[in-house]
Symmetry: C2
Amino acid sequence: MGTACALLLARNPEHRVILWCPQVDRARLLAATRENERFLPGVKIPGPVEITADFKATAADAYVLAIPTVYLRDALQRLRPAWPTRGPIVSVIKGLERETFKRPSEIIAEFLPGSTVAALSGPSHAEEVARGMPASLVAASEIRGLAVDVQRWFSQERFRVYTSDDLIGTELAAALKNVIAVAAGICDGLGFGDNAKSALMTRGLVEMVRFGCSLGATEKTFYGLAGVGDVITTCVSRHGRNRELGERIGKGEKLDAILASTRKVFEGVWTASSVYHFALQRGISVPVTTEVYRILFEGKDPLTAAKDLMTRDLKHESGPWE
Amino acid sequence: MGTACALLLARNPEHRVILWCPQVDRARLLAATRENERFLPGVKIPGPVEITADFKATAADAYVLAIPTVYLRDALQRLRPAWPTRGPIVSVIKGLERETFKRPSEIIAEFLPGSTVAALSGPSHAEEVARGMPASLVAASEIRGLAVDVQRWFSQERFRVYTSDDLIGTELAAALKNVIAVAAGICDGLGFGDNAKSALMTRGLVEMVRFGCSLGATEKTFYGLAGVGDVITTCVSRHGRNRELGERIGKGEKLDAILASTRKVFEGVWTASSVYHFALQRGISVPVTTEVYRILFEGKDPLTAAKDLMTRDLKHESGPWE
């Protein structure tokens, strides 16, 4: 996603874009081949994008951070002393810190206090963005001027950015949707069809709203690009990692065996565990997450979980009768 | 969908279910083969479901109406004199009347005044429902007791029904989503990928809300099963008729040629036209519908339409800055 953002920003000739790659060898290879062969094979990095492993050489008016949540704390700790300026930070990081349940912008604030942060989120597979396929995202910040700046920096013919003031909701949605993606994958693995999967995504969205709002998010965010938009891509795309994990679980594989067989990180697994415990403590109803948790961590049979989900007390969806 | 509902209701041994089929020959064949070979091949209609072509023999405590919108007015006109009782009506009809823009329940009220009506809607491909695959729907009525009755009549282990008081929104969502499905199909036809399609569905939902609420719908309905749930199934499923039409348009076919080649009814085409003109009159912004209209009826190039959609004035998504 870091490379994809560099490509996007470099399309504007007024931007000077520096792509920082921490490994000296990889940075050298990138600069020589002008191609991120590992993640974006076949996509040329244009000449104007400078590539460096020297963090001190990256002093800029603004920073785009694309470090996976799981490495974010360590990276910031290491980088803090050398951080060149206090320019605003655009986070394209999706996920919550496993141990602390903190959002990326909260971790950034710990290490770079005083920096302003915007989250750029929504349905955005990096491969598609890098290949110039259209996408629409949302730039969320507590500071209006920064959200509008990010919108202006990134927007172009095939990349449309909306602004939002809900940083909390935008970051939460990006993490919570991974739990729904695991559930949607389980639904696929059970061979349940389109009706069941769409209903699951819809009811998953309802509990994302309930949980997110209890943490200070705005409901509307979940009905926008960072919410339902990202839920759809993540649950529907064949390439979604969390969906794929769910599908294997739905077909009968066990979590331990899957985790032992790969080095991939499945954010949805740990987010499910965190959300489950947090919701339990606070008495927030999250039936989909609860069943995902029980299937993943308590060995519950997915078919039984689906049945339990379908046969709970009958509910009201909308209106003043509740 | 009528057959699928009969199968569902007949699973409860307390129900006496009569399946009415207007054509005498077809009713006789159905009764002999116990199979709707045309729409649901391979699905057995169980013994307890009575099959008749004699409308007078269908006197019942409640009626499920599954007549396509385009035939509804004629059918009700013909049936009205013989309508056996004034039991409540459950409409599983999706769509708006082309000439009048009326919802199914409004047409029903014209011919059967005094009958109470509930709409049962949500992601519900009949094939999946008939084959016992799980689904969750919403029963909406202005009369709470009827919504709760419908919920009770239909709910079972693999079919979960929520209640809603928003009949208007539920019926509007079922029709408006077909326009978004055409747009999503065009997106597929252009080869635009998951990011673009999810964003289009999300922004389509935003304008469904805007348009629907101007007609008296409740916003929340569009974020529920009859709204986003049905949008997802209709836009994602390979079998969706409106999505398929859009895909052919996106690949360069013209509407006239497609319509001339088939007897299929594409509700989304006519709904797009109605919504476009209605929104224009009232000054409601419906950018996705507008581009669909221009592509279908004014021969606009789909790629130009996509570009115009992406490069409009930059917008705010959510929050008090608007």
